[in-house]
């Protein structure tokens, strides 16, 4: 199949411009640049001869400081706006409010959790009871355990 884009007629310019347009553009541009100061053409000698000023050395440092200040500023304002940032006195206030949470009374807990006083202490009682049971093991039981586990008689004598 023929490549339609290879037709030479397609490469012809179908657009037009007003008569004398390019002459007028040249005049307009020359008028514009005449009003502008004439810049000196670039030359390596001129660049080498250019004296180093205070700003030549400190410009990069100033730029760096400016960037740090900007980043810090953005970070600080973001924290301030979102409420993440707290001053010293606000921090103390937070600690105080946390401390006051520790002082919640039993009545408050019962009303919040909707339980009775017995429920509140029930679990703690059972723990105490089991601990007591553990302590109530008598010497004979321990002796029997040691015999069963075949410990040396010196260990049993120590118990007696």
């Amino acid at each position: 199949m023929e490549d339609i884009l290879s037709r030479s007629s397609l490469k012809e310019n179908p657009f037009g411009v007003p008569a004398g347009y390019f002459t007028s553009v040249q005049d307009e541009v020359m008028q514009k640049i005449s009003a502008m100061p004439v810049a000196q053409p670039y030359s390596e000698e001129a660049e080498e001869a250019a004296p180093a000023t205070f700003m030549t050395y400190f410009k990069p440092a100033f730029a760096l400081v400016a960037v740090f200040a900007m980043v810090f500023g953005i970070g600080w304002s973001t924290m301030k706006l979102t409420g993440t940032y707290t001053s010293g006195s606000q921090e103390n206030a937070t600690i105080l409010s946390e401390a006051s949470q520790d002082e919640i009374s039993e009545d408050d807990i019962i009303s919040i959790l909707d339980i009775t006083v017995e429920d509140l202490y029930a679990e703690g009682d059972s723990d105490t009871q089991s601990q007591t049971e553990t302590l109530e093991l008598d010497v004979e039981t321990i002796e029997q355990y040691l015999i069963d586990t075949r410990l040396p008689s010196t260990a049993i004598a120590l118990l007696e």
Partner: protein, 182 residues
């Protein structure tokens, strides 16, 4: 006059404006047509051509001949136009319109368009390409610049440029063949 001679003249004391005038004479038409094919409007192209030439005047003192003068000139014109198109697209986005449609309408209603149906279809098909690809396609297809020169103008590698051009060429060709070869 050769670019080198223009630049030598430009570096002669008191001859800057004269040398620049020669540069404008040599390049204004080529730059204009390059811009015009991207913007599809004489008014926009006129503004962009003038701003490009002023920019060339401003930057000519720092031109170090690391690139060829004409690729440097094309580069300024292309950047100016692509920046202009980008701004227009952003503006169109905020006004909830499509800039591609605006460009197509400009092309359709252009009283200075003297081409036939096939040429109109070609320029419409080119408008369907992304702006950068359009610039690459125009520089290669219409201005017949070498890939190396286009790479210098666009600031990309020759490899990616070739791929971009072939992709654009295929797309435009398919669109035209659909309309005219069925």
């Amino acid at each position: 006059m050769e670019d080198k001679e223009i630049l030598e003249l430009y570096r002669t004391e008191g001859k800057q404006e004269f040398a620049f005038n020669l540069l404008v004479q040599k390049y204004q038409e080529r730059i204009y047509w390059h811009i015009r094919k991207l913007t599809c409007s004489h008014e926009d192209s006129n503004d962009l051509l003038q701003s490009t030439l002023v920019k060339i005047w401003e930057n000519l003192p720092s031109f170090r001949e690391e690139a060829k003068l004409y690729t440097w000139v094309y580069r300024i014109a292309t950047n100016e136009t692509l920046t202009f198109l980008k701004k227009k697209r952003i503006g169109a986005m905020f006004s909830l319109s499509n800039y591609d449609t605006t460009l197509a309408n400009k092309l359709q209603s252009d009283p200075s368009f003297n081409g036939d149906k096939l040429q109109m279809a070609l320029h419409k098909a080119i408008l369907h390409l992304p702006d950068k690809q359009r610039a690459v396609f125009n520089l290669r297809y219409f201005q017949e610049l070498k890939y190396e020169e286009i790479a210098e103008i666009m600031g990309t590698s020759v490899g990616s440029l070739k791929a971009s051009y072939h992709h654009a060429y295929k797309k435009v060709k398919e669109e035209l063949q659909e309309k005219f070869c069925d």
